[in-house]
Subunit: 281 residues, 2 copies
């Protein structure tokens, strides 16, 4: 396994692989890897010959006041985990190389960024779209794999690729959960034991909504009420939004006809957690 | 010479050339080609093996109220001229393919877009940055050639390439002038005989400034006054801006120390004309 820090070296490596007819797959991460990341890596392996995992905590996607400085990092641990997965390259550029002095370009996926997490994290999706466009040009993959816990991010990146004509296939991988149902996230380390237990109301609420829809419930208001009640039972959990929306354009919907995305964001202690489920799928 | 309209076909063609070890050069144009475009094409030829000229009148770079509908077009003529230059591919995509329904991504080079033409053409440089990022992904050139009459555009694209890590060399080609000094532009066809004669004050004013600097003038105010006087003598010419600025970051300067960009924009009849000169170079 190679560790590449230089952007130019990464570009040359990838171009070399391309000229050899190899299919490069990218799994972008912010490091502090957990089981869900490793599943993305295994998913990535299915889609090509050369597997690159980027580890970069992107400052521009943390709005002011968020946890950029506190975001957990442990590169040596990440390195060991990725070596165990047989990854070909860890791409680990420095902030100064990614955002050199004079840097001033922004990429924005306008409509999709307006919904769900958008208003709560001003500039976040612009930061994501910009760094992903950059990573795509640094690594030039044929395929890129993203987790569906960040469902809105997945939609935004899929749109970015289509709108800017990147010749890249975007693969979404299903949410990976702990045995008790909590969606895996690097931010789960912020939770103490009590908060962690409270946070289980998210997956419980989603499960309840899934059951309601399976039993024939179609009324969005009814579903949202029961989901809201489930979360409200946990005083440590402060809901940020609970939304039922169209899984393609994220516009709110009132009835579950075909597929509907139920998306949640809450705060628990120092952590902001998101989770979602595709209902009626 | 091939004419390619499909984005997918263009991407495959370019990938094929890349795998054959060829260097693809792109000259992006909005068509209605004149002598300066043909010089860009000849410049492009020097930088690689395969020459692609794109012809696309990009709607998103025309702010509301500008001349998008009236912008001159003559594809058959362009085709003949480019065939004469031995171009390999004319890339001529349709608007619907470039901006399909649901399109919503914007690329913006923030700082450099704030100066000179930026405030007079709201959204123009965002449209330029976005379409150029798209064209780069459609054609995947190693080198792209732009004319320096659009000096601000050149700076913005160079910055875009650096900021988004496109693996592309951006080449700027000097302004090409008619024998009487008028900078070549597709928009010159808007001028009637009298307006065209008046428009010569632009190159005259630039020449005067060059002479002043050669003779040792360093005071920006003095230079701008004489340039302004030269333009004011032509009642058909309505100045939009006359600026002396740093040729790297476009900030206004008061003294010519090292290089200085003198940039002009005026309106004459239906035409908006720009011109510039790098003083002290």
């Amino acid at each position: 396994m190679q560790i590449i820090e230089s952007i130019g070296t990464m570009q040359k490596w990838s171009e070399q692989k391309r000229l050899q007819g190899k299919r490069v797959v990218l799994v972008p991460t912010m490091g502090y890897l957990h089981g869900a990341h490793l599943e993305l890596v295994r998913e990535g392996r299915k889609h090509g010959d050369c597997l690159v995992v980027s580890v970069f905590v992107n400052p521009s996607q943390f709005p002011p006041g968020e946890d950029f400085a506190a975001y957990p990092r442990d590169f040596q641990r990440d390195r060991g985990l990725l070596e165990g997965e047989g990854v070909d390259v860890i791409f680990h550029p420095g902030s100064e190389a990614v955002y050199p002095p004079g840097y001033q370009t922004r990429v924005e996926v306008g409509e999709l960024s307006r919904f769900l997490c958008g208003p709560h994290r001003p500039g976040h999706f612009q930061g994501v779209a910009t760094v992903v466009a950059k990573l795509f040009n640094m690594v030039r993959p044929r395929v890129a794999v993203f987790g569906l816990k960040d469902y809105q991010q997945f939609l935004i990146i899929r749109r970015l690729v289509e709108d800017l004509n990147f010749d890249i296939e975007v693969v979404g991988h299903p949410i990976v959960r702990e045995p008790d149902g909590l969606a895996m996230s690097s931010r789960n380390v912020y939770l103490n034991a009590e908060e962690r237990k409270s946070a289980l109301c998210l997956s419980r609420a989603l499960k309840k909504a899934e059951d309601l829809v399976l039993r024939g419930e179609r009324d969005g208001g009814g579903i949202l009420r029961q989901v809201g009640d489930e979360i409200a039972r946990e005083p440590l959990v402060r809901p940020e939004y609970v939304k039922l929306c169209d899984p393609e354009n994220l516009q709110s919907i009132k009835k579950v006809e075909g597929k509907a995305l139920l998306a949640l964001a809450v705060r628990v202690g120092k952590a902001r957690l998101i989770d979602n489920s595709l209902l009626g799928a």
